[in-house]
Symmetry: C2
Subunit: 400 residues, 2 copies
């Protein structure tokens, strides 16, 4: 039976989410039994509103240019559909004679895909539903890592590397706030910035390790005493021992459709930590130390210098999902599985595998204990894990 | 007479300030009558404390690697010496038998250089004092533009370009805060991000144009109504009609040695504007619009992907200053003067000229009226002026 295919992108965009889109399109385009290849504008939000674009006849050079561009070319959505919404999705698919349904996204998007799949099957449809992984947070289970993470990690490592030189040239205390609501992988990637002894970041704070203000101030004071400067990488999602986000204590603002407090798109956490350090590290009669905070913000997920490894893996994940659908699988998600042992980047190998939607849907992976070193650092094992994913980083020279 | 040379770097570092350092070193190294080539650790702060390094015998490959690395390799300083401090500088120079004094920096650094020069001459010294321009703010007079600006402008344009795609994929209002205390050039460079109709930034706010909150809210509302989204570039230095910095109204914190309020290294202005828009654009009974703010921060001046044009001009400015000293000039500053008319980048030409220290010392250039369009944009003339300085920017593709 011939049928149409439809592809959607959801959640926070990445620098390589369009690679996966194009991977699906190009793999489908080789098969005659696929009818039209359609795209949802802004994911299921556009699909249910009839906002659909036809991708079937796009020339290869345009597809390649889109693949190389950051952000979701189809538009994305933060809608988290309930069952009634998912019913409307299934109806929209029937109306458009969709046989192949692809949804590129993270935890929540895989859950949407799972519900749509179940409802479609229950209604007697033979629509095949596939999830393609995407998230800069790197928090999808089973996956060794997730498309989008490597490029964001590349940005964070490069930023901390350059900022550490800046911090060395005008010494002071510098707080850099990194994305990641509940998983610390992206903040941990800042460790790749270290090229020489005493390079920053000197302290790394992850959501997985309970954040204690007193210990934080003490850590910073010790580094500042030793080096005359201190560069800190801190996750936007750091939590206290009872699991309350430090940022949530001070930000009254937005919650998203999932009830989460807005963490990104604000400098509040950095400014809070900066103020804390100024207050606590000023001794009587002396000037406060120079403390600055930067929040890396949305550039982490859209900076147009993606990791080449991440680009090719995201493309392959899309192709692989299309292959599963065309080979007759009824549903599933794609997982990136590392097949090499940790070690030099040259020996790094990875493959795509099919996993069940239920294995990834709405689940979150955290940094393992083996990746965490004490209260304020990551382990060598994490660095070995992360290094092959980011591509070649710049080398910054010093006079000494 | 043979004498030693000494070089210092001062003020906020840039991505190419080491090009100027290496330009001076390599030009001096060709001449036998120069003795040792020394470097001040952290500018005049290190010089007066006896913290000096010898650069004479560094191999060319290390010099080239340092030139290509962002941030001040010698270390920088924010010290703004008074006359007594400058006397100590002159004494330190005499102690080290300095005949050639080079100081790479912005407005304040050129003023230090001017005072040192005057005191040295008054004391009967024949020390030759030269200033080499550097500032991401691009606010030195006489100069067509300043080394460091092109690379920072490249970062800002690239960031706004990628962030505009992000903003299009999850529509909302996005405020991006750009460096620049009193000159808007760097914020204005965000206009280079526009590749297609409706690309951001849709609104640009400069320190040179009095900022009015009501008009700002109205501008944003109009764009948001028209496009369903709005990306804004705003200078950290925006001021009200009476010249008071908007950020100063809310930031109690630090002032620097020059009595300036700390603008960079805080997300406060972005969060203030974000909160203002949320409050004022929420209509009764409806959810507030999605408003996010990023403050680009220190990455603007240290991101390790410098503009190639900026790199070569910064190198040449250093070489030229060394040449002036060796040719027998007693003092001066280097100015970059454009010799081509505005137009395509291919015909762009620039040359170095000697100017008097007094012409640049402690003076500030602002955006000319011809570069400003209305209350919230820059002119085509500015884009033509700026484009050759940033190198080739990425091209981001869309599906439409």
């Amino acid at each position: 039976m011939t049928g149409n295919a439809i592809i959607g992108q959801a959640g926070g965009p990445t620098a390589v989410i369009n690679q996966s889109l194009v991977g699906i399109v190009e793999a489908l385009a080789t098969r005659q039994r696929v009818g039209r290849i359609l795209g949802m504008r802004h994911g299921v939000q556009g699909l249910t509103a009839g906002q659909i674009v036809d991708l079937t006849d796009l020339p290869a050079d345009q597809l390649n240019a889109v693949a190389d561009s950051p952000s979701a070319a189809l538009g994305s959505t933060r809608d988290k559909p309930d069952e009634a919404y998912c019913q409307r999705i299934v109806q929209a698919c029937q109306k458009n004679e969709i046989k192949y349904f692809f949804y590129i996204g993270g935890n929540d998007s895989s859950d949407t895909c799972r519900i749509v799949n179940e409802l479609a099957k229950a209604s007697g449809s033979d629509m095949r539903c596939f999830h393609v992984p995407k998230t800069v947070d790197n928090d999808l289970p089973i996956n060794d890592h997730t498309p989008g993470f490597g490029s964001a990690a590349r940005f964070v490592a490069t930023a901390c590397m350059a900022d550490s030189r800046d911090n060395a040239s005008i010494p002071g205390i510098k707080v850099n706030v990194v994305m990641g609501r509940s998983a610390g992988f992206l903040t941990a990637a800042s460790a790749l910035a270290r090229q020489n002894e005493n390079d920053g970041p000197h302290l790394i704070y992850l959501p997985e390790v309970a954040f204690d203000e007193d210990r934080f101030v003490q850590d910073v004071a010790q580094t500042y005493d030793r080096l005359g400067r201190c560069q800190i990488a801190v996750s936007e999602g750091i939590q206290d021992a009872s699991g309350v986000a430090i940022a949530a204590k001070l930000i009254k603002g937005d919650t998203d459709a999932h009830g989460n407090v807005q963490l990104s798109g604000s400098g509040a956490l950095g400014d809070l930590l900066s103020g804390l350090l100024k207050d606590r590290l000023t001794t009587a009669g002396s000037k406060p130390p120079r403390v600055r905070a930067d929040t890396f913000g949305y550039l982490q997920r859209c900076w147009p210098d993606a990791s080449p490894v991440d680009q090719s893996e995201a493309r392959e994940a899309g192709r692989f999902a299309a292959g599963l659908a065309l080979e007759g699988h009824a549903d599933g998600s794609v997982a990136l599985i590392r097949t090499s042992t940790p070690g030099p980047s040259e020996s790094y190998q990875v493959e795509c595998q099919r996993i069940e939607l239920s294995e990834v849907a709405a689940k979150t992976k955290h940094m393992s204990d083996a990746f965490i070193l004490g209260y304020n650092d990551v382990s060598r094992a994490f660095v070995d894990y992360c290094r092959p994913l980011v591509g070649e980083l710049p080398t910054l020279a010093t006079l000494s």
